[in-house]
């Protein structure tokens, strides 16, 4: 079946602009996660959705970052007033239920965001 898909694959923007990154999870997965990966680092957790609600947004770095999942499937990560330090690969993952000890997260290919 289809895996997690993310669009766009690459996004170049100017400092101060607004961007939206989209994630389409595996069909039937109720849990969805966003991570950010800077060069030479492992992915860092940003936010976790269970269904339509953000169950944990403690990893969002500041209030310029916001994410939604209005119908419990597709999610959009929104970044306002982008800064050069926001440049990274933004990874989305989904899992069947979220939170159980055997629940496995499957990752999408990511969106490489470059802020000039």
């Amino acid at each position: 079946g289809a895996g997690v898909s993310q669009t766009p694959s690459n996004k170049v923007t100017e400092k101060g602009k607004y961007v939206e990154l989209r994630c389409d999870p595996i069909s039937g997965h109720t849990a969805l996660y966003w991570y950010r990966q800077s060069l030479g680092q492992g992915p860092e957790f940003l936010i976790y959705f269970q269904g339509t609600g953000a169950a944990d947004d403690s990893g969002l770095p500041n209030d310029r970052f916001f994410a939604v999942r209005p119908e419990g499937s597709v999610s959009t990560l929104k970044i306002q007033r982008t800064e050069r330090g926001d440049s990274a690969v933004y990874l989305c993952a989904s899992s069947f239920s979220g939170g159980s000890s055997t629940d496995t997260q499957y990752f999408g290919p990511g969106t490489r965001l470059t802020v000039l």
Binding site: G40, L91, G98, G99, T104, Y106, G108
Partner: protein, 112 residues
């Protein structure tokens, strides 16, 4: 704060060699340890380990967890050039069992 340290950070081997990648961790209320392989962008799942001493195996890859000494190893035997990738180790805790806390990864290059 949970901590995951992987070693070595990078490694170059010849095809056919056996490699061992290390992951040590400090986690409050440990729940699981996971290994992912990252080529280009998407990390792909390899193993999830929750119990000490039980080896997980998939083809030429195997992994084991030691919850007393707080580490895991990932072994790759008879390496191939297609094994070249970054191998990521991540842990979860019972407080936020969903959030993967990753190490920096080990970059493996297998030369012909």
């Amino acid at each position: 704060e949970d901590k995951v340290v992987q070693s070595p950070l990078s490694l170059v081997v010849h095809e056919g060699d056996t490699v061992t990648l290390n992951c040590s961790y400090e986690v409050t209320n440990f729940r699981s340890l996971l290994w992912y392989k990252q080529e280009k962008k998407a990390p792909t799942f390899l193993f999830m380990l929750t119990s000490s001493g039980i080896e997980k195996k998939s083809g030429r890859l195997s992994s084991i967890l030691d919850k007393k000494e707080l580490f895991s190893i990932l072994n790759i035997t008879a390496t191939q050039t297609g094994d070249s990738a970054v191998y990521l180790c991540a842990v979860t805790n019972s407080n936020s069992g969903y959030a993967l806390n990753f190490g920096k990864g080990t970059s493996l290059l297998v030369t012909p």
